[in-house]
């Protein structure tokens, strides 16, 4: 509608008064006859055209809205589109800045200069003739310094950040931060004990992701605990890894654990081996190791994907006790049904914070716990309020 449309509009605007006079005269003169030569009647105009600055933006845009013309979706059903024109003064020359299809009652003018007032005209068109113009009040765009619709996120973000930083500082100062005993960790100790009774080795599978995945880091901390127990009980510890970086980190952790347990001589670096980066190749390699070594206890701690099935199944067939821990939602169902105990999602991180007492982990865990406490309070209080018809809290939480 661009080239042809503009010339059409210019022609109509200049010839409009003449046409109206002719049309009304010819209509009146011809009386009741329905001459087929008369020009088709233009569609009725849209009504209450309003223009206002788009709020909460970087300026430069004005939102124009109107009620659809009577002939759009009703009446003569003749409206094909709406033309939107703009001028800096009522008497000035209106320039077309865009058009929208029928059925739409809004247009956004995206290149207005902030501070300058504009008048917007909207005209319904049936492809041939244009409706009478409807003009809005003056409106000018401006940029806002604060997005009022997002105060709830600002409050929530500031509160959570304050809590996390507060507890990190407390942990750094060595204050005693209570974390409930994690059932999974007792199961870890029991499994190592059971494997020692049966005189079988222990296998620790640290997942298939690299050291930049937070689950692998948590896994290394739990490996330290398992290694210390294995050193005390003098049980062999096998750690097949799928990343070379994870292998070196695991060797570091296990050596340190053996030192802590006073058994540096029992540390054997070749039991901690890198197999392959490939997902299924690694699973096949670990399965082979399981069937050869027949471990008494197997630990799966870290990030796992679809290969968790292959590992847990073979582990189950060797009769070993299996303890798993991962934050991968898609793999948790398989570990829960195939293993004897599973650390679910955040329990993996809680266990590593519980064991390491590392201020960063401990502090953020406590900060997040407070975040959960607040969420529970809002949920309980909110549902009660809403049940009694007071839904102000819902508005506070809504982001616009």
């Amino acid at each position: 509608m661009d080239g042809v449309g503009r010339s059409l509009v210019r022609y109509w605007r200049s010839a409009l008064p003449l046409v109206i006079v002719l049309w009304s005269v010819s209509g009146a003169a011809s009386g009741a006859t329905t001459p087929d030569t008369v020009t088709p009647e233009p569609p009725s105009p849209p009504s209450n055209v309003a223009a206002e600055d788009r709020s909460n933006d970087a300026g430069g845009s004005v939102v124009i809205s109107w009620t659809k013309s009577a002939d759009d979706g009703g009446g003569k059903e003749s409206v094909v589109e709406y033309l939107v024109l703009r001028s800096t003064s009522l008497a000035g020359e209106f320039q077309q800045i865009g058009s929208v299809r029928s059925g739409v009652a809004q247009f956004v003018d995206q290149n207005s200069i902030d501070g300058t007032p504009y008048f917007y005209m909207v005209r319904a068109s049936d492809g041939v003739s244009l409706s009478l113009p409807e003009v809005s009040e003056a409106a000018s765009s401006s940029a806002q310094w604060f997005h009022t619709g997002r105060t709830n996120i600002l409050v929530a973000g500031a509160l959570l950040s304050f809590l996390v930083l507060l507890f990190i500082r407390k942990a750094k100062r060595g204050e005693e931060l209570y974390i409930r005993p994690i059932a999974g960790l007792e199961a870890v100790d029991e499994a190592v004990g059971r494997a020692t009774e049966m005189g079988k080795p222990i296998m620790y599978v640290p997942g298939i992701m690299d050291m930049d995945d937070i689950q692998t880091i948590a896994s290394m901390i739990i490996l330290g605990r398992v290694a210390r127990k294995a050193a005390e009980y003098e049980t062999a510890l096998l750690v097949p890894t799928s990343r070379s970086l994870v292998m070196s980190a695991a060797q570091e952790t296990v050596k340190e654990a053996y030192l802590d347990a006073g058994r540096p001589d029992a540390f054997d670096a070749d039991r901690i081996r890198y197999l392959t980066d490939d997902q299924f190749g690694y699973a096949a390699g670990v399965d082979g190791l399981m069937l050869r070594e027949v471990p008494g206890a197997i630990f799966y701690m870290g990030a796992f994907y679809a290969e968790s099935l292959i590992l847990a199944e073979t582990g189950h067939s060797t009769g070993a006790i299996q303890i798993a821990g991962t934050a991968m939602p898609s793999q948790l169902p398989f570990f829960v049904t195939a293993c004897d105990y599973t650390l679910i999602g955040e329990e993996l991180f809680a266990a590593s914070a519980y064991l390491s007492k590392e201020p960063l982990l401990l502090g953020s865990l406590k900060g997040q716990d407070w975040g959960k406490a607040i969420s529970i309070a809002i949920l309980v209080g909110g549902v009660i309020l809403v049940s009694f018809g007071m839904s102000k809290i819902v508005e506070w939480l809504t982001t616009r």
């Binding site: 865009g98 299809r101 059925g103 956004v108 995206q110 199944e313 898609s330």
Partner: protein, 277 residues
């Protein structure tokens, strides 16, 4: 070795053969179970039906061939549905492997409904960066995509006339097999710009998006091959998804039988020999 142990030690390759048969036989001899349409799929269908002709729909292909059996039929059904309602499709992909799949679906549907590239549909190709790509598209589409997937300047394509950012887009649909995908489109598209967002996801990720459906962040969703088959029913055509549903039924029946059968012996065994574990 007791029956329980012998059954448990059954060679896994026998089970592989059983599952293969459970899939192949119904494919060769279809049974023709009836498919029910679930509510999330109906809502997505309604969302497209309610658009005025000429509206623009973003279909973002955030998946790859490994999930084609579930998502490609959705892509085809959506392209046919949009063209049947004279909607314009703006195709793109947050995964590079999704771009040719989106292109193939749109071309196939365009042939059927007489639509032409550059006028009724466009394929803007792939950009790396996931959530950052979505927010760049929200702000300024031509600046983020100066050229389409094959290198043609976007300014030459009529479909992109007057298209500047999300204000000119009526509906966003993400066909996603993981990250980046539906989550990024909901977080930016719906969360910051209030656009209507629909989804077509793999069965693996479907359960995790039900909170988005309930909170109204997603207007509708197709989950897995079953979701695709339901959409094909709504489009009155039996595409590849509905064809696979018989095999899906039989395979599910077999796996449920495995679980019940093995657990029956497991629970019986455990009661008789409590000390075993």
């Amino acid at each position: 070795m007791s029956i329980v142990e012998r059954l448990e030690k059954l060679d896994r390759r026998l089970i592989f053969v059983l599952i293969l048969l459970a899939v192949v036989i119904p494919l060769v001899r279809p049974i023709g179970f009836k498919i029910e349409v679930s509510e999330p799929v109906q809502q997505l269908y309604e969302a497209i039906e309610s658009l005025n002709p000429g509206s623009r729909v973003i279909i973002s292909c955030d998946y790859d061939p490994s999930t084609m059996p579930e998502i490609y039929p959705m892509n085809q059904a959506l392209a046919r549905h949009c063209f049947s309602r004279d909607l314009k499709i703006v195709g793109m992909g947050l995964w590079p492997q999704g771009v040719p799949l989106g292109q193939a679906s749109m071309e196939q549907a365009a042939e059927e409904y007489g639509k032409s590239y550059g006028v009724d549909y466009v394929n803007l190709g792939f950009k790396a960066g996931g959530i950052v790509v979505v927010s760049s598209v929200a702000e300024n589409i031509p600046a983020t995509y100066p050229q389409d997937y094959a290198g043609r300047p976007v300014s030459e394509l009529p479909i992109m006339d007057g298209v500047r950012n999300f204000d000119n887009i009526e509906l966003i649909i993400s066909l996603s097999a993981g990250d980046p995908g539906v989550r990024e489109w909901v977080m930016i598209g719906q969360g910051r710009y209030g656009k209507t967002v629909g989804a077509g996801v793999t069965a693996v990720s479907a359960p995790a998006f039900y909170p988005y459906l309930q909170a109204g962040q997603l207007v509708g969703m197709m989950g897995g091959m079953k979701g695709a088959a339901e959409y094909e029913i709504l489009m009155e055509g039996t595409g590849t998804a509905s064809r696979g549903m018989d095999a899906q039924s039989v395979a599910h029946g077999l796996i449920i039988f495995f679980i019940l059968f093995a657990n029956f012996f497991y629970l019986v065994g455990r009661r008789k020999m409590p000390w075993k574990r």
